[in-house]
Symmetry: C2
Subunit: 299 residues, 2 copies
C-alpha cells in the first residue's frame, strides 16, 4: 500500500564533534520518505522555498518518491541550525527559521488516496491534524512528535492522539507527555489517550513497542561510527511505517520486523551527515545489516 508522508523538508546546518555541514538536506519528511521508500511507494507532502535546489527534487524522484505534493513557494526553505556535543542524544538548537512553513496549509494532490497509509512526520500537531482532516485517511495512521510540541502544543497533540493508530516519540518525550518515569506506565498513559500503538525510541539504546499487552524490545544496531544523529528518529518512523505499508497484513511478526528495519535504517542515517548515509544504502546493504542484526541478537 502507498504511504503518504507529511512533514518538513529543510536545509540543516549541523555541527557535531565529528565535523559540520551548512544548508544540507534535512527535515522530518525527507528522512522519513527516503527510509520508507525502501519498502513502498511514497507520496511526499511538504513545502520548500525558491532557494531549494533542483538536485534534491531529482533525488526524491530517483528514489520513486512522488513530489506532486511538494509545494514550491516564493521565499526561503525551512532552516534548522544545531550543535551536538559528545552526548549525541541531545541537539542544542541554535536557530529555527520556519520561513515558507509559516502558516503552510498544503494542497492534497490527486495521487494521495484515502485508503493509503499516512505518516504524520514530526511537525506542528495543528498542521498534522489539518492534514488528517483533509485526507480523511482509512489506512494506518502514524504520528511522530517531539518535546517542542509537547511543551507548546500539548492540547492539540492530545486531541490528535484520539485519531492516530500509532504514536512514535522518544523516552524523554514519553515521560514528559505522560508524567510517568517508568516507560511501561508512560506507554499505558499514552494508550489511554486513544493511540492503540506506542513506539518509544531510545536512540542508541533501541526502541520499545507497546500495543495492549503486546510488548516488544528492539536494541539499536551497534555502530563503530556515529557522525550525526540528525534524522535518526524520522528515519526510524519512515522505515517502520514504510515496512508496514509494504505488507498485505499487519501481524505480530510483521510489526516486530518493522521495528527492526526502522532501527537498522536509522543506523545508516547516523553514520554520516544529512541523508548521505541513507543515500548510500542499497536494498542489499540493508538486508545484510538486518541479517547481521539477527546474529547480534539471537539467543
Amino acid at each position: 500500500m502507498a504511504l503518504t508522508v507529511i512533514g518538513s523538508v529543510a536545509l540543516d546546518s549541523v555541527e557535531t564533534p565529528f565535523g559540520k555541514r551548512k544548508d544540507v538536506l534535512g527535515g522530518s519528511a525527507t528522512y522519513a520518505s527516503l527510509s520508507a521508500s525502501f519498502f513502498t511507494p511514497v507520496n511526499l507532502i511538504s513545502v520548500v522555498g525558491s532557494d531549494f535546489e533542483e538536485k534534491h527534487i531529482k533525488m526524491f524522484t530517483k528514489k520513486k518518491i512522488n513530489t506532486a505534493g511538494l509545494e514550491r513557494k516564493k521565499g526561503k526553505t525551512f532552516r534548522w541550525k544545531a550543535r551536538y556535543h559528545y552526548d549525541l542524544n541531545y541537539a542544542e538548537t541554535i536557530s529555527t527559521h520556519l520561513n515558507v512553513f509559516e502558516g503552510f496549509r498544503p494542497g492534497i494532490p490527486p495521487c494521495v488516496k484515502e485508503k493509503d497509509n499516512l505518516l504524520l512526520a514530526n511537525i506542528d500537531p495543528e498542521l498534522q491534524s489539518w492534514i488528517f482532516r483533509q485526507i480523511k485517511p482509512r489506512g494506518l495512521v502514524a504520528c511522530d512528535t517531539m518535546n517542542l510540541w509537547i511543551t507548546h502544543k500539548k492540547k492539540a497533540l492530545l486531541k490528535l492522539l484520539k485519531k492516530v493508530d500509532l504514536l512514535l516519540l522518544n523516552d524523554a518525550e514519553a515521560r514528559q507527555l505522560s508524567g510517568e518515569k517508568n516507560l511501561i506506565e508512560a506507554a499505558k498513559y499514552i494508550s489511554s489517550k486513544g493511540t492503540r500503538m506506542v513506539v518509544i525510541k531510545k536512540g542508541e539504546h533501541g526502541a520499545l513497542f507497546f500495543c495492549g499487552k503486546l510488548h516488544f524490545i528492539v536494541p539499536a544496531y551497534l555502530l563503530e561510527t556515529i557522525t550525526d544523529p540528525t534524522g535518526a528518529g524520522d528515519t526510524f518512523a519512515g522505515g517502520m511505517i514504510g515496512y508496514l505499508s509494504g505488507k498485505k497484513k499487519i501481524t505480530d511478526s510483521v510489526l516486530r520486523k518493522a521495528l527492526v528495519y526502522g532501527s537498522i535504517l536509522a543506523s545508516f542515517t547516523v553514520e554520516r551527515f544529512s541523508v548521505e548515509g541513507l543515500l548510500r544504502t542499497t536494498p542489499k546493504r540493508l538486508k545484510d545489516r538486518y541479517n547481521h542484526f539477527e546474529r547480534l541478537t539471537r539467543f
Copy 2:
C-alpha cells in the same frame, strides 16, 4: 562445574525514591553467589564481622552456597551507605566503611579447587589478584570491577586483566578505562589488554558482549517496578558466570543464553531492596521470565 566467588559481603543502608533500608544484606559476592546458585554449586570466599547475623549464613546454606570460605572476624562487617535519586543509574555513596575487609587476605578452604571456575566479584583488584595467585585457577576466570578501582587502582586492574578470560564493567566504566567514547572501540581496547571476552553492562538498557569478532546485544527485561538497583551488576555477573559454569561446554549459544540469564536475574534484584527480589525467585519464575523475554525480543 563448581564456581568460586570472591567479593564483598556487606551490610548496606540504602535510600531510593521508593523507600529506604538500614543494614540490610548486600555486597558483590552476596548478590553474585545467590544469582549463580540457580545454576551451579557455589563456594563463597569473603569476610564478615561479629555483628553479622546468623540468619544470613543460614540463608546462604539453604541456597546451597558453601560458606566454608566465609571468614568471621572480630569487628564490624563492611558497610556501604548510599542514596539514589530519580536517575537510578547513579548511586551517590554517602559512606564506605571497609571494617573487617581492611587488609583482608582470606584463607582458601579445601572445597575450592583449581579446576573450578572463578568469579572475582567487584572488589579491590589487588585482592582479586592475590586470590588469583592463591587459587591458580585452571577454569574460566571472570572479573567484575567498578569506577572506584579504575580511578584509584588502574595499574593493578590492568595487570589483572592479562590473567582473566572475561571482564564485566558498565558503559561509563568501559569508557573511563579505555578513553574511548564508542563502546565497540572501548571493548577492543580492553581486549587488547589481555581479556578475551568483555561484557559491557548498560543498566536498564541491557548489556553488550564482545569476543573478537563475535558481538552480542541483550536488552534489559522491561520492568514496571524498579525499587533499588543495588546489586544489579553483581547479580548479572553471578548469573552469567553461574550459567556458564553449569554447562559442560561454552559455545556461542551458551554464551548468549548466559547473558540473557544474567540480565533476567538482575531484573529480579532491582524489583526489591537488598536480596529480597532474588530470594523470592524460584527456578520456575526464572524460566517463566526467560520465556517472556524471548517473546519480548524475538522478531
